[in-house]
């Protein structure tokens, strides 16, 4: 697990922007993300946010996954 505070997370992506998953900050939440196909080394693309800004929709492993911003914030991206 990375403890650096200055990492970029999946919640920081702008619509259309892509990133590669490098790890997670929360081991409990990461389990569910792993099961949904968010594995380290996988590419994620931010699609769009809901009208109220939360949750967001990302493209990962070939499908659209919606998740809350605080759930996306635990996904660390390669810089």
């Amino acid at each position: 697990m990375v403890t650096d505070i200055n990492y970029k997370s999946a919640a920081d992506l702008k619509p259309g922007e892509k990133g590669i998953i490098s790890g997670f900050t929360d081991s409990h939440l990461s389990l569910k993300l792993l099961e949904m196909g968010c594995l380290p080394g996988t590419e994620v693309q931010m699609n769009y946010a809901a009208p109220l800004g939360d949750p967001i929709c990302i493209k990962v492993a070939g499908y659209n996954l919606s998740l809350r911003v605080d759930e996306a914030a635990i996904i660390i991206l390669e810089s």
Partner: protein, 562 residues
């Protein structure tokens, strides 16, 4: 294990993998729905004739991504697979693998196979996958997994007979686990095996992980496992991550030899993205949601105007015929002024209900309901729920809090009644048919549709509010639900899936709302028979006649009309 004549078969798969369609296809005429032993959520059980001698009892489990429970639904799955004493403990599993999301689907497959169950695999959506440029070599996949496997199509029925053959001849051979968890916690797995005698190391490990949430565990077992975990210094959060990653590396190996990806222009995906741009638009998103439901409630009355007219005329002439033919007595009064209008009311409401159910099923099957959850999650969060909780409320089936309440004593059952939106819906319709005149507003809109939508929306708010209070005061802790969910690609609903969805809703209506509707109708009949029958549907000829005769009701109606 020898072959039984009536094996118990559990159907497992990811959400939205075509699992329920397969269940409906397999058990076509032999469905029986009922409450599952010990489990709160409505479970579906059906029977499927495999050959002349064998009939399988099929259990349709809720969709799950993994047997590590992260939601109430997944808890049901891990409960059933963990509890060997349960009368529903399956003899074998039929795992549905969605070809479009083969990687994710295989995770669940490897987990349940490693628990030691005989597994047969049904691959669905293979045509859709080919369209997306995903090609699966079934022979290679069969060899890599070492499992019996068949591609099926629940629309055409291709592969179903072969699947039934496989199910009647399951391979019982013991095999090496795909991923051995022993290395993650050798001591723990060894001790668990010694104590419980399970040969699957994965079962030993899984039980040690979920001893607190799984029903199977008694107090003694909990105590034993708790001390064992301390002794072995076992931390399941890290091992679970390693387990999942280990499984995915096995799956990657399988996929690299059995699946090939051709980059293709994905038309359906692009179509979905385009629609989503409007559906989840900052300003139009909620407007569209409102407009859609507004249109549904308007169309209920628009489409039933003509059959409703005939029903009313028929009832009208029948009742005047009866009134003339029979001598006036209490019995005649009861019949003409009580039972007949009640029957008429029911006949008028049924087609309306059918149209509502049809529209809701179409929304569910097309994939729009998932977007509703996406749109409303932030609002629902304020009440301690997720957007997903709104889906069953909108579709008029019972939802999670309600189930929790129903299982927690008498006070809980009362709360469940308050939460019970699905049972109230037909009642709203009866009230609207009874009291709201079908007068046009702005020439095209219908007052009845507007009133019903108002009742429906406020009913949802009541349910949400009560559910919030329940959570605050009754301290009901479930599993912490995460929002993460797939936004599926839009698709045109098939006849079968719409039929099954509507059947399910009508069944629910019969079971849940039937009593309430009956009570309502009895009150209605009694009132009319005892008090001279001035309470009649306002939209009938009888009703308007009564309205002009009875000053009180007439005043209300004329007030409404003017």
């Amino acid at each position: 294990m020898s072959l039984k004549a009536n094996p118990r078969l559990a159907l497992l798969g990811n959400p939205n993998s075509g699992k329920t369609s397969l269940f409906n296809y397999l058990t076509r005429q032999h469905q029986r729905t009922g409450n599952f032993t010990g489990v709160t959520v409505d479970k579906k059980i059906g029977f499927c004739k495999l050959n002349e001698h064998m009939e399988a009892r099929v259990i349709d489990l809720p969709g799950a991504y993994s047997i590590y429970p992260h939601s109430q639904d997944e808890l049901i799955v891990s409960d059933l697979l963990g509890c060997t004493d349960s009368p529903d403990y399956p003899d074998m599993l039929l795992v549905v693998v969605d070809a479009c999301h083969i990687k994710r689907s295989l995770l669940l497959l490897t987990e349940v196979r490693d628990l030691g169950f005989p597994v047969v695999v049904a691959i669905t959506k293979i045509d859709a996958a080919a369209e997306q440029g995903i090609e699966i070599d079934l022979t290679e996949l069969r060899r890599e997994l070492g499992l019996q496997l068949m591609a099926v199509n629940t629309l055409t029925g291709v592969g179903i007979e072969d699947l039934k053959y496989l199910l009647s001849n399951p391979r019982m051979k013991k095999a090496e686990p795909y991923y051995d968890v022993t290395e993650l916690a050798p001591e723990l797995v060894g001790q668990m095996r010694e104590n419980y005698g399970w040969c699957s190391s994965y079962r030993c490990y899984q039980m040690a992980c979920h001893y607190e949430s799984v029903k199977w565990c008694g107090e003694d077992d909990q105590e034993f496992i708790r001390s064992l975990r301390e002794e072995c210094d076992f931390d399941d959060a890290t091992t679970q991550g390693k387990d999942t990653i280990g499984r995915y590396s096995f799956i990657d190996k399988v996929i690299s030899s059995a699946v090939s990806y051709h980059r293709k222009k994905k038309r359906r995906e692009q179509f979905t993205d385009t629609i989503d741009r409007y559906v989840t638009h900052r300003y139009w998103g909620f407007g569209l949601l409102f407009a859609l439901f507004f249109a549904i409630f308007q169309s209920i009355y628009f489409w039933t105007a003509i059959p409703g007219h005939f029903i009313r005329q028929g009832a009208d002439s029948f009742s005047s015929y009866l009134a003339e033919a029979m001598t006036p007595s209490v019995g005649t009064d009861l019949l003409v002024k009580g039972l007949l209008p009640a029957a008429e009311l029911l006949l008028v409401v049924m087609p309306q209900l059918a149209i509502l159910f049809l529209c809701l099923t179409l929304l569910e099957e097309s994939g729009y309901m998932a977007r509703v959850a996406f749109l409303t999650d932030k609002i629902m969060r304020r009440f301690g729920m997720t957007g997903k909780c709104l889906m069953p409320l909108l579709s008029g089936v019972s939802f999670e809090s309600e189930e929790i309440c129903r299982n927690s004593g008498r006070r809980g059952r009362f709360m469940a009644f308050l939460l019970h939106h699905s049972a109230r819906l037909p009642l709203y319709m009866l009230l609207v048919a009874l009291f709201v005149p079908a007068i046009p507003i702005l020439t095209v809109l219908n007052l009845q549709g507007i009133v019903l939508m108002g009742l429906y929306v406020s009913g949802i708010f009541i349910s949400i509010g009560v559910s919030y209070l329940v959570r605050v005061f009754m301290n009901t802790h479930g599993i912490r639900s995460l929002f993460m969910m797939e936004l599926p690609i839009y698709c045109v609903p098939t006849r079968h899936s719409v039929g099954a969805g509507m059947y399910e809703k009508f069944r629910h209506f019969g079971v849940e709302a039937g009593k309430l509707v009956l009570l309502f109708l009895i009150c209605f009949v009694m009132y009319n028979a005892l008090f001279g029958g001035d309470l009649l549907p306002v939209n009938t000829a009888l009703g308007s006649k009564a309205a002009s005769e009875s000053p009180a009701l007439g005043n209300i109606i004329s007030f409404l009309i003017n």
